[in-house]
Assembly symmetry: C2
């Protein structure tokens, strides 16, 4: 529950989510390449791998091993907890 907010706190992890939404089921190397190409992020492979672990712990990314590859899928359901917790509707202060 707490991992969710930590997961989306990092801009690189948010870019990873953007990437997976745009093209689901990518491997680690695919993600690394696309982050450099389209998001200007050039972190090491290990750094991205650690980010993916955090996203997986938060339930925002689903993983499946296939041979020597590991594919990643986006899973947005945990995000609903945020708008369920606070009324996102534009609540303005009432005049006093």
């Amino acid at each position: 529950m707490d991992d969710l907010y930590r997961a989306i706190a990092d801009p690189t992890r948010r870019a990873i989510l953007d990437e997976l939404v745009q093209r689901d089921g990518q491997s680690l190397f695919e993600i690394c390449g696309r982050l450099v190409m389209k998001h200007g992020i050039s972190s090491s492979r290990q750094a991205i791998s650690q980010h993916l672990e955090v996203l997986e712990a938060a339930g925002l990314v689903t993983v499946e091993r296939e041979g020597r590859y590991k594919f990643h899928w986006f899973h947005g359901e945990p995000l609903e907890a945020i708008t369920r917790r606070w009324p996102a509707g534009a609540k303005r202060r009432s005049d006093r």
Copy 2:
């Protein structure tokens, strides 16, 4: 835009938002007291004040000075950017 995710990354700040949703328009001292009472959080007044600055920078809290008091209101609209960015609907991986 980036401040939003940092703002809700901290559990104390999330508790502050919970408090303001439950009782809008509190002063700093009121918030401090209620955090101790109902959330078991006992940080110093300055710590809470700094948290409120972060929340204000993220647009999640509206502030109005009145004499020697400073009142705080919850404003949930920025949160909509999250579910607008990623489809929160439970998207599952497609079989391969």
